[in-house]
Amino acid sequence: MSKLFQFIKIIRLGDAFIIISFLAIIFWAISRSWNMPSGQYLKIESNYEDPIIFSLNQSANKNISGFLGSSVISINEGKARFVKSPCTKKYCIHHGWIDKVNQTIVCLPNQITISIVGNSESYDTVNY
């Protein structure tokens, strides 16, 4: 402990300022990445399954059960879309890809929503 005080005695005000700023930046970075994982995720919600969150950094097809049957959602390096759906109009498929935070596709007939979530959600809900 006495060594620590000796160290504090010899450093100048400027040194202390740099050390404190440096530690502050590290803390800021850690707390930020702790609370909000960087990058974006795909959130899939269905009345027939628990909500699932997938990383968007993958290429994969996911089968999700809905009201009418199984829908297939494709994730491809940062973007996602419906590729198969048992609904009649297929509006969910025609929507195409989504890749930005808060973008959402809803398949009302099959009761499945997919949305991109991430660290910059700028609103709580959407007036669709």
Binding site: W28, S31, K100, T113, D124, V126, N127, Y128
Partner: protein
């Protein structure tokens, strides 16, 4: 001294990291759309219980007011269509009918819940509309004998109709009315911070922690928000859009928002969003009054908004240009603005 400073900074960081209160979110599919409830600052158990109370109330309302499946309303329509009188001893339904009469008349019948038959002719009385355009003869006939709420007569608890076309359809009212009921359920159960969203009809109660609830306004042609706006406590916001229920035939979009004056889907707007300040029926008004602003001719929209006392509105017109009230324009935050878009301020 310096060491203390360092400690102080660390403590501030740790404290600020640990003060995030949770928001519990629940979703269900009711009224043919998604219902989303967010509750801030309550335990998970309580949030879940209250959300379920609200979902159950919405399911009850949906079955009770359903325009085409078996419900009190469809029985009433059947009786009135065959020229019979219909007895209702249900105070709530009499209140609902009375309120619909007042709102339809105030909106110069641009909000017309009495034309269920026309909505059905267009195929919107099914979960997935057929892609059939009715013959213009049929539509002309209907419009010549257009039914309005004035055709429904109430004699204490007996209803009768003086127009064979009369068919009540509360599709433009029920979600807003449900919001007002949700507000009561939240208040009775001492929930002071919540956000309820029924397929785009939203009501805010309290705040999201130390900030107001923020709502994204859907872009009518993209899967993202065009703007966002803060929704203060007790306020409601509602949107009517041609992208919600529609079908395409011969590359033309036919939406469920039918113009009572022509009998055809209104085609001068893509979406109309309105915000209503706290009131006993704020939810109802946010649902009902977005229709007249969507349907009315372009040059009449602003005047109609003034008449209905709507100070906050934003309409995306068919050509993508925007008509916005000055108060809405002061509060809105644009997320996606394109430079060719013309924004007119009313």
């Amino acid at each position: 001294m310096h060491f203390h400073k360092f400690l102080l900074i660390t403590v501030i960081f740790l404290v600020s990291c640990g003060q995030k209160k949770p928001v519990h979110e629940y979703k269900d599919f009711i009224f043919g759309t998604i219902v989303d409830i967010k509750i801030y600052g309550e335990t998970e158990d309580k949030s879940e219980n209250i959300s379920n109370l609200i979902f159950n109330d919405f399911k009850y309302l949906h079955n009770y007011l359903h325009p085409w499946e078996k419900s009190l309303i469809s029985s009433m329509n059947k009786a009135l269509a065959s020229g019979d009188k219909f007895h209702v001893d249900d105070k709530e339904i009499l209140h609902i009918i009375h309120e619909n009469k007042i709102l339809a008349s105030a909106s110069e019948n641009y909000f017309n819940p009495a034309m269920g038959k026309l909505i059905s002719m267009w195929g919107f009385h099914q979960d997935a509309p057929e892609q059939n355009v009715p013959s213009s003869e049929k539509i002309k006939d209907f419009v010549a004998n257009m039914s309005t709420m004035d055709d429904l007569h109430i004699n204490q608890t007996t209803l009768s109709s003086s127009n064979k076309n009369f068919q009540l359809d509360l599709g433009g009212y029920a979600k807003g009315y449900a919001l007002d009921r949700a507000k009561k359920i939240l208040a009775t159960n001492s929930i002071s911070n919540a956000l309820v969203n029924i397929g785009g009809n939203i009501m805010a109660i309290g705040m999201h922690g130390d900030r107001k609830w923020v709502v994204g306004i859907q872009h009518p042609r993209k899967p993202s928000a065009i703007a966002s706006i803060e929704l203060p406590s007790g306020w409601s916001i509602g949107t009517s859009g041609d992208y919600q229920r529609y079908f395409m035939a011969d590359e033309t979009r036919y939406s469920h928002l039918i113009n009572p004056q022509t009998g055809f889907p209104a085609d001068n707007s893509q979406s109309a969003t309105i915000m209503i300040p706290p009131a006993k029926n704020s939810g109802t008004l946010s649902d009902v009054y977005s229709k007249p602003l969507f349907i009315a001719p372009k040059l009449k929209k602003g005047q109609l908004a003034d008449k209905l006392g709507i100070n906050f509105f934003m309409i995306v017109l068919a050509d993508g240009n925007i008509l916005i009230s000055s108060k809405m324009n002061q509060s809105i935050r644009w997320l996606e603005k394109n430079h060719e878009q013309i924004i007119s301020i009313h």
